[in-house]
C-alpha cells in the first residue's frame, strides 16, 4: 500500500498552481488536505502522473464573512471552521456539520475545498452547500467562474470542475431568516453517515414560514428535498408535520444498497432524521437573532 510513482509540484503562488493544473490537466491530482486523496494514492486507486500540492499557496486559507455569504478559502481546514468564532456567529451550522467529519486528527488536515471537490456522496458539506444554495468558485489561467452547487455536483466523486481548474473558494450564503441544523446518522460518530440532513427553518409562532432541506448519503450527490420544503412551508411544527415531511423525504430518494445497508434502510434513516429534526425543533421565533451576518 504505497503510492505509485508521481511527479510532485508544490507551487508557491496561485498563478503557479493554476499553471500546473493548466499544464497537466487530467494527469494531475490536486493535493489539499489529502485525507481522501492520499488513501486513494496508497491503495493505488488513484494514479496521477502529477500531484499538485496547493498547501503552500498563499491566500487560500482564509474565510470571509460578507454581506449575505460566508466565503471559505479552499485550503481552510475543517478544524479551523470548527473553531472560528466569526463563522460560528454567521453560520453555526457549518461548524455543526464539520464536527461530524471524522475525528480531530483528520479534521486538522481536511480542507473545505478538498472536501467539496472530492464530492463523496456521503459527505456533509455538499449537503450544507445544497441547503444554503451555495456555490463553488473555480479558477483557471483563463479566469474565474462561480458554479452553483446543483451544477457543481455531478455524480459520485465527479464535479463540474474542469481538469485545469482549481477550487479556490466555497461560498455558503447566509440566510439570517432561517435557523439551520445538521443531523446525521452514522455507525459511529465520525464515520461517513448512512444519511445526513441540513435543515433550515424560519419558524414564527409555531408555523414554518420558510424551509430548506438537503440530504447526503441518499443519492450519488447531495439532494434538495424540495417537495418536503414545500410541504413544510406554512405548516405548523409538530408530530404530524414531522411525520408527513419525513415520508416525503423518504419517497424523494432511491439510494442504492451497499455493505452498510439496503437502499430502503437509507431511505428510512433519512425519514427518521427529517421527522426527528422537525419534531424536536424548538418552538421559538429566531428572526433577527443572527443579524450579525446581515
Amino acid at each position: 500500500m504505497k503510492p505509485a510513482v508521481f511527479s510532485y509540484l508544490d507551487p508557491r503562488t496561485l498563478e503557479e498552481a493554476l499553471d500546473a493544473v493548466g499544464e497537466h490537466g487530467d494527469d494531475a491530482s490536486v493535493l489539499a488536505g489529502g485525507q481522501s486523496l492520499v488513501p486513494l494514492l496508497n491503495m493505488r486507486l488513484a494514479r496521477p502522473e502529477v500531484v499538485v500540492d496547493i498547501n503552500r499557496v498563499p491566500g487560500l486559507d482564509t474565510s470571509r464573512v460578507e454581506a449575505g455569504a460566508v466565503r471559505v478559502g479552499a485550503l481552510v481546514r475543517a478544524a479551523t471552521v470548527e473553531k472560528d468564532p466569526a463563522l460560528a456567529d454567521a453560520l453555526p451550522v457549518l461548524a455543526d456539520a464539520v464536527r461530524h467529519i471524522a475525528h480531530p486528527q483528520i479534521r486538522n488536515r481536511t480542507t473545505i475545498g478538498g472536501n467539496v471537490a472530492h464530492a463523496d456522496p456521503s459527505s456533509e458539506l455538499p449537503a450544507v452547500l445544497a441547503a444554503l444554495d451555495g456555490a463553488v468558485v473555480l479558477r483557471s489561467t483563463a479566469g474565474e467562474r462561480t458554479v452553483g452547487w446543483e451544477e457543481f455536483f455531478v455524480s459520485v466523486f465527479t464535479t463540474a470542475r474542469e481538469p485545469e481548474e482549481l477550487v479556490t473558494e466555497v461560498v455558503f450564503p447566509v440566510r439570517p431568516d432561517l435557523e439551520f441544523r445538521w443531523t446525521e446518522f452514522a455507525r459511529h460518530h465520525g464515520d461517513f453517515p448512512v444519511a445526513g440532513i441540513c435543515c433550515g427553518l424560519d419558524v414564527e409562532d409555531g408555523v414554518v414560514r420558510a424551509a430548506r432541506l438537503a440530504a447526503t448519503g441518499v443519492a450519488d450527490r447531495p439532494v434538495r428535498l424540495r417537495e418536503a420544503e414545500t410541504a413544510l412551508t406554512d405548516a405548523a411544527l409538530g408530530a404530524e408535520t414531522a411525520r408527513a415531511v419525513g415520508e416525503l423525504a423518504r419517497r424523494a430518494v432511491d439510494p442504492p444498497s451497499d455493505v452498510h445497508g439496503s437502499g430502503d434502510f437509507r431511505r428510512a434513516v433519512l425519514a427518521t432524521l427529517v421527522r426527528r429534526t422537525i419534531e424536536t425543533w424548538p418552538d421559538r421565533s429566531q428572526r433577527g437573532r443572527r443579524g450579525a451576518a446581515a
Binding site: G34, V38, N42, P104, I106, R109
Partner: protein, 166 residues
C-alpha cells in the same frame, strides 16, 4: 519508471534532520524507515486506525496521509520525544498505571493525540470521546485508556479535570 526524489529537512523532536527521499514517501515511512524513528506505527495506511498519528507544527495528524515532502521545514513530534530516556511522561505513566495498553501497537498514536488534546485544553469528555474516537485499539476495549485519560486530566487545571464522562 524512476521515482522523483527531493531533499526533506524536518525537525523531529527538536532535532534537525535532512534526507533525500522519493516524493511519494509517506511521512510515516519517512519517520520510520528514513530516520529510524520506529515508535510511530503503521496499522492501516488509510487514515482510520490512528496508530501513525504524530504532531506536525503541534497539530495531530495521520502521518500515513501526508507526504514526507509536505513536512519539509516543519517541526514533527513523535512518541520518542514524549519523555527523556528512562522516564515516562505523566500521560505515559497514567497509561501504565491504568493498563491503557496491551500489545502497545496503537499506543504511540493515542499518546500523540492526547498530548495535543492536553495542550489544546480540551475537556476530559472530549478527550475520551472525539479524540479517542480517532483511534482503533483491538486489545484494551478502551476502558483502560479512558481511565488513563481521566487520571491524567485530573491533574490538569481544574476546569478540565472535573468533567469525567461515564
Amino acid at each position: 519508471m524512476k521515482a522523483e526524489t527531493r531533499e526533506v529537512t524536518i525537525s523531529v523532536n527538536g532535532q534537525r534532520m535532512t534526507r533525500r527521499t522519493e516524493v511519494r514517501t509517506l511521512l510515516s515511512d519517512f519517520l520510520r524507515h528514513d530516520l529510524g524513528l520506529t515508535g510511530t506505527h503503521v496499522g492501516c495506511e488509510h487514515g482510520v486506525c490512528g496508530a501513525c498519528t504524530v504532531l506536525v507544527d503541534g497539530v495531530p495528524m495521520r502521518s500515513c496521509l501526508a507526504l514526507a515532502v509536505q513536512a519539509d521545514g516543519r517541526a514533527v513530534e513523535t512518541v520518542e520525544g514524549l519523555a527523556p530516556e528512562g522516564e515516562l511522561s505523566e500521560m505515559q505513566q497514567a497509561m501504565r498505571d491504568e493498563h491503557g495498553l496491551q500489545c502497545g501497537f496503537c499506543t504511540p498514536g493515542i499518546l500523540m493525540s492526547m498530548l495535543a488534546a492536553e495542550r489544546a485544553g480540551v475537556s476530559c469528555a472530549e478527550a475520551c470521546g472525539d479524540v479517542l474516537g480517532g483511534h482503533v485499539c483491538r486489545c484494551t476495549g478502551y476502558q483502560g485508556i479512558r481511565a488513563a485519560v481521566r487520571r491524567r486530566w485530573a491533574t490538569l487545571p481544574a476546569a478540565r479535570g472535573e468533567e469525567t464522562p461515564a
